[in-house]
Point group: C2
Chain length 221, copies 2
DNA sequence: TGTACATCAGTGAACGCGCGTTCACTGATGTAC
DNA sequence: TGTACATCAGTGAACGCGCGTTCACTGATGTAC
């Protein structure tokens, strides 16, 4: 088998040719494309593998069909990321549901965030591990942090804690970013894969959260 | 001018054809290649732009010549990164030269690290911003942290501070990683580019360092 | 109830691109006799 | 001192690859008369 033949047969494989949608149900393909893209991401963990061709093949459709539903590759990748961001955001919300102590809520959010990365490294890498310029502009700026990460709730908790005297008074947005950066650094390194003699991810998460929570407490005059 | 002609003329541009090295001075080209690669990195800030062809063009040489000095692209990129890591390591050492208080040394290292990222965002992105798999295996594991980042000195300072009672006793390697992760998270986000209404990088750096330094102090029983 | 027709969901082939890498070569440089 | 020769530093053309995207098309599906 020549390399060319091999490639051809692989291209034919995928999921087999997909049956054409009924009239008016063209939108179904859009969903299937996004689902296939996410699956590809899971297998490879690399946004570069989200090629139009690979996705089309996985869905069982030809590349041009993608353009019936997305203007270009950028838009497709953006949509995939957008969904993941929302998923993460609601996961964070779920993690603090029912908790009323703001400090505890802050802590839980951090923990849940790191755990999302640890359990979905491929997705995390796509969300924040890549180059910024491969993400459409909408993602590149502040909107990323406020809209996507849902910083609002965290800032609210920080403010509440400050009001209650559990935290030294300061700019909550600034503090919010610092906390996020720290947790993101931890997560992104864990997602990169830890070395053989590293402490367990759990230990590192605990230690980071512990350090941060102490670091932001009110200080003796 | 057709696109093809344009490409051709651009290819001819670069730095002009380079004169051939004298007998025995073939190694000169190796240096020039690395220098050109670094320059390309500065312009684009993206390891993907380190293509064999782009580098060859910048040096004023044809692509195959690169292979006289590097086995493949991976080796070249590795060497470029390796040099940057050493640069950063010695920069960190310089930042604490003459300081004897271990806590102060720890703080200064963190600050210097973040500043390196802020002033050399393109380089930082190449060192830690990319995908792990684009970096040769040597870089991917623990060796990265110990050899490249020179964690030894930081661990030494942490240990000294623990011995002096300035820090609660704990595994210094674990703490070392946590501190690095936090500073890395900060740096990598700043390097990504900050949004319009962000606090200044300097403020964020101060705040992060301040939080961490408080977080690791001994705690009241 | 039957048929012409517009619409819709795709297809197939091709475009030009830049890439890493290989291969057979060239021609200047230095060295041995 | 002159010349044949080995070596060394490169060149030029080509390889096959996968990519995003475009374009003219096809053929099933539903609808209007």
């Amino acid at each position: 088998m020549t390399p060319t033949e091999l490639t051809a047969s692989v291209a034919v494989a995928g999921e087999g040719r997909r049956s054409r949608a009924r009239r008016g149900e063209g939108g179904r393909l859009r969903e299937d494309i996004l689902a296939a893209a996410e699956e590809l991401l899971l297998k490879s963990g690399d946004a570069d593998s989200l090629s139009i061709r690979a996705i089309a093949n996985a869905v069982g459709v030809t590349p041009p069909s993608i353009y019936l539903h997305f203007a270009d590759r950028n838009e497709l990748v953006f949509e995939v990321c957008d969904r993941k961001w929302r998923e993460l955001a609601s996961l964070l919300d779920a993690a603090v549901a029912g908790l009323s102590d703001p400090l505890e809520r802050i802590e839980r959010r951090g923990r849940a965030y790191a755990e999302f990365g640890i359990t979905h490294p491929e997705h995390y890498r796509v969300l924040l591990g890549g180059r910024a310029d491969e993400i459409p502009e909408k993602h590149a700026d502040q909107a990323l942090l406020t809209d996507r990460l849902g910083f609002g709730p965290l800032v609210a908790d920080l403010t509440e804690a400050m009001d209650g005297g559990q935290l030294a008074r300061s700019d909550p947005w600034e503090l919010c970013r610092v906390l996020f950066f720290a947790i993101h650094g931890l997560t992104s390194m864990l997602v990169r894969g830890s070395g053989p003699d590293w402490p367990s991810p759990e230990r590192l998460v605990e230690r980071m959260i512990d350090t941060l929570m102490w670091g932001i407490r009110p200080r003796p005059a």
